[in-house]
């Protein structure tokens, strides 16, 4: 019963928060509602017994990713509302709605999966974090290491991309679009 109530509270709040994220004109609102939605999603993970995943969701998404977004937003002009031109709003909602309907239809159909084999069964008497650790460092060791390297590479890339010319103000000065002549000069300089 608690599960039932919890699920619906989480479900309704995530849908509303994400709708705000998608439809809001204000970047700050969108980001805040996104963060809230992610917190709610971690609630689903706790409900599903994936405690560790829920914690990771909170730390990585709500903590790290959202913090990154928050820092990034400092570079951009976020006080104004985002002005966007919507070419064909009907088509967008039609497609999205169609997709939603199709998903609902597919998932509400009885699942034919009785003969699926369990690949990594949850061992009884072991906590979720331990179980995750066991599987992660045995079966998924190589992907785990690859993911680690990927994160490292992403970090380096992020630093280099964002870190160049940090001393210049981004919001006030506008770099001129590189024209043909100066492009040639740059090439010449580089070749020297």
């Amino acid at each position: 019963m608690y599960e039932f109530i919890a699920f619906y509270i989480f479900a309704i709040s995530t849908v509303i928060l994400f709708l705000i994220t998608v439809l809001s004109k204000n970047v700050l609102y969108a980001m805040t509602s996104l963060a809230g939605g992610m917190v709610m999603i971690s609630g689903f993970f706790f409900l599903l017994g994936a405690d560790f995943l829920g914690v990771v969701q909170l730390i990585v998404y709500v903590g790290a990713v959202m913090a990154l977004y928050a820092f990034a937003m400092m570079f951009f002009d976020t006080t104004k509302d985002v002005k966007e031109k919507y070419n064909s709003p009907r088509l967008v909602f039609l497609l999205g709605g169609l997709m939603a309907v199709v998903f609902v239809v597919i998932f509400s159909a009885p699942i034919i999966g009785e003969n699926l084999q369990v690949a990594s069964p949850i061992t009884n008497g072991v906590g979720n974090a331990e179980a995750v650790g066991i599987v992660l460092f045995t079966k998924y060791l190589v992907p785990f290491e690859v993911a680690a390297i990927m994160l490292l590479v992403a970090m380096v890339a992020g630093i280099i991309l964002a870190g160049k010319k940090m001393d210049e103000s981004l919001t006030t000065t506008v770099l001129p679009l590189v024209d043909k002549e100066s492009e040639d000069e740059i090439l010449k300089k580089e070749s020297r």
Binding site: N87, L95, L98, M99, V105, A109
Partner: protein
């Protein structure tokens, strides 16, 4: 021995590739002029060695590889060297060797010297395949190969402009080449039908299998096969009514005329009939055989009559070739296959010699061919005069030269078969032959020196060329002396043909009669054309405006007839079909192209460079995919 077969066959091929691949675009290269004749000479050596081998040990049959193996059709790439093919091989390589060396001199100043040798050697290779193949498919390949080479070589000077027929009856080399090729297409269709009929009814194309099966076939089919194959032979050997291409083929360089249009390729038709002798000697097809003989006789006379008045040096020889081919067909049709082959060989030697002599004259006279503009050339061209004299004597059939033995045997055959009409026509034609060949010799070499009036400065050909021609001259003299040994050699394969007792009895006066006609022909020619001074030859307007003169001069109006009644209606029909083609076929193709073009043009707007709209398109695609999978789930 197998190696010799391959050497004989592939040496010319190597020569062709050598000249074609390495020197096609380079200017005249003397290496080509040495290597190619040398390779042909090697082929000749191998052929002669094979001839001795065959004489002692019998035929050699080699299968190089499987060539076509499809379902029940099985054609190996095989060659047979027996008495008939080895005779042809020796004849072909002998003439080819001489012609190759001769071409060195004749094509001396031509800028396409290397190309010429490449084609010429390719021709020899094709001809070798033709004569050596052990099945009809291989024969057909060689048959088409020589056709292509003939086309290439007739049109060798393709850059010459088209002119009207009254300036040059052949219009231009490329026109003549196309004419020859297209005429041969007509005939080759017949040949193909014949081959298909053989395959349908016998299930094989190997000579030995086919000839063994022939007597078990129905008469109608045999007649059909015989007719179809003979149509092919008619085209290649330029028999009436497909004869017009041969004289126009004289547009090619003279060595080509000597090799292809006198000695070898045009005799392929005769070779085919000889090769298929088990078919043509069957009782069921005796009517066809008789028709062959009759047609041959007719062509012999018909061509000789046109040669009487012609003024073009090479065309006269071309007509005489036609005429002699007629003789060969007459012999083959009457069942005297070995005599036909004998005449083929002898004719090849003296006719090639005649052509090469004509080439010397052309070379001396700056490519002038009108014999009325020559005369008295013997002073400056002694060697050529000698050669052409020998060749003409041989052609006229005077003893003891080659033509006497072979042609006499054919005429005797006609008598022996009791076909007296044919016999008399052949005898009379022998007289005409003597007349026109000496008319040409005398007009060229004797009489008044008319060339001076036209400002020519004739000079003799290079000495080495004259020396190279000597083997042909010797063969033209002595080839006939080996009649008996050739007979003994060849009847191991070809059916024996014996003169009856009655003929044997009358042989002496028959021979004398032919000789009488021949000699009187020569004497008339001498009186009319060879004298000087008051009795010197003058063009006679009265004769030239006569009906017969005009008829003969215009080749019985047959080319004109073809143009009026075949070429022009065909062009008209083609124009109509072209219009239909444009309206239906082209329009359909264009429509498809337009649809695709329009589609592309209208869908180009998708590429507007806006990432967001790309995302939209991707979204549409994703939704469609999910829909499809949903439908699959619901259905499944």
């Amino acid at each position: 021995m197998e190696k010799l077969v391959y050497i004989a066959l592939f040496a010319p091929f190597v020569g062709s590739l050598f000249a074609g691949l390495f020197f096609a675009r380079s200017p005249k290269n003397i290496i080509v002029g040495v290597v190619n004749p040398a390779l042909i000479f090697i082929s000749w050596l191998a052929s002669v060695a094979l001839a001795f081998h065959v004489a002692e040990h019998g035929a050699i049959h080699v299968t190089m590889m499987d060539w076509i193996s499809a379902g029940a059709l099985h054609i190996p790439f095989g060659f047979v060297v027996d008495e008939v093919s080895v005779t042809m091989m020796v004849v072909v390589t002998t003439v080819s060797t001489v012609v190759h060396i001769y071409s060195n001199g004749y094509m001396d100043h031509d800028k396409s010297f290397n190309r010429f040798f490449s084609y010429l050697s390719a021709f020899v290779f094709s001809m070798m395949i033709l004569v050596m193949s052990d099945n009809f498919a291989g024969l057909f390949i060689g048959w088409e190969g020589v056709g292509v080479c003939s086309w290439l070589l007739i049109g060798f000077w393709y850059h010459k402009k088209d002119v009207t027929p009254d300036i040059n009856p052949a219009i231009s080399p490329s026109y003549a080449a196309n004419e020859a090729f297209i005429m041969n297409r007509i005939a080759d269709l017949g040949m193909l039908v014949g081959i298909f009929l053989i395959y349908w009814n016998v299930g094989s194309l190997q000579y030995d299998v086919v000839f063994k099966e022939l007597p078990h076939l129905e008469d109608g089919i045999l007649v059909a096969i015989a007719i179809a194959l003979f149509i092919g032979a008619m085209g290649k050997s330029a028999q009436f009514p497909l004869h017009t291409w041969l004289t126009d083929a004289m547009e090619g360089p003279t060595p080509v005329s000597a090799l292809i249009h006198a000695a070898t390729m045009v005799t392929a038709g005769v070779f085919l009939v000889i090769r298929a002798n088990p078919l043509y000697s069957l009782d069921a097809v005796s009517d066809v055989s008789y028709f062959i003989a009759a047609l041959g006789t007719f062509v012999a006379f018909f061509a000789a009559s046109m040669a009487l008045v012609n003024r073009d040096l090479k065309r006269i020889i071309a007509y005489s070739t036609l005429s002699q081919l007629g003789y060969m067909f007459a012999a083959a049709g009457l069942g005297a296959y070995w005599i036909a082959l004998f005449h083929l060989a002898a004719h090849a030697f003296f006719k090639a010699l005649l052509f090469l002599g004509a080439g010397n004259v052309m070379h001396a006279m700056d490519d002038e061919l009108d014999i009325f503009k020559m005369g008295g050339l013997k002073k400056v061209m002694r060697g050529t005069y000698l050669y052409m004299g020998i060749a003409s004597l041989a052609l006229a059939g005077l003893p003891p030269l080659a033509g006497y033995f072979s042609k006499d045997a054919i005429i005797e055959t006609a008598f022996n078969e009791g076909t007296y009409v044919l016999w008399f026509a052949l005898v009379f034609t022998a007289g005409l032959t003597a007349f026109y060949s000496f008319r040409q010799v005398f007009l060229t070499f004797d009489g008044e020196e008319r060339y001076k009036r036209f400002g020519f400065h004739p000079h003799e050909m290079y000495r080495y060329v004259l020396v190279a021609m000597s083997p042909l001259a010797i063969l033209a003299i002595i080839a006939g002396w080996f009649q008996d040994s050739f007979h003994e050699f060849i009847i191991k394969l070809l059916p024996e043909y014996e003169m009856s007792h009655h003929t044997h009895h009358n042989a002496w006066w028959l021979g004398l009669l032919v000789l009488f006609f021949a000699v009187s022909g020569i004497i008339i020619a001498y009186k009319k054309y060879a004298r000087k001074g008051d009795k010197a030859f003058k063009q006679d307007k009265k004769v030239e405006s006569g009906f017969f003169y005009k008829l003969l001069m215009n080749q019985y109006y047959i080319p004109a007839f073809y143009v009026e009644f075949i070429v022009k209606p065909y062009t008209a029909i083609s124009d109509k079909f072209w219009a239909i083609d444009k309206a239906v076929v082209d329009a359909t193709v264009d429509f498809i192209a337009k649809v695709i073009y329009k589609t592309g043009d209208s869908s180009r707007v998708i590429q507007n460079g806006n990432l967001s709209s790309y995302l939209n398109w991707m979204g549409i695609g994703a939704v469609l995919l999910i829909l499809a999978s949903a439908i699959a789930v619901v259905m499944g």
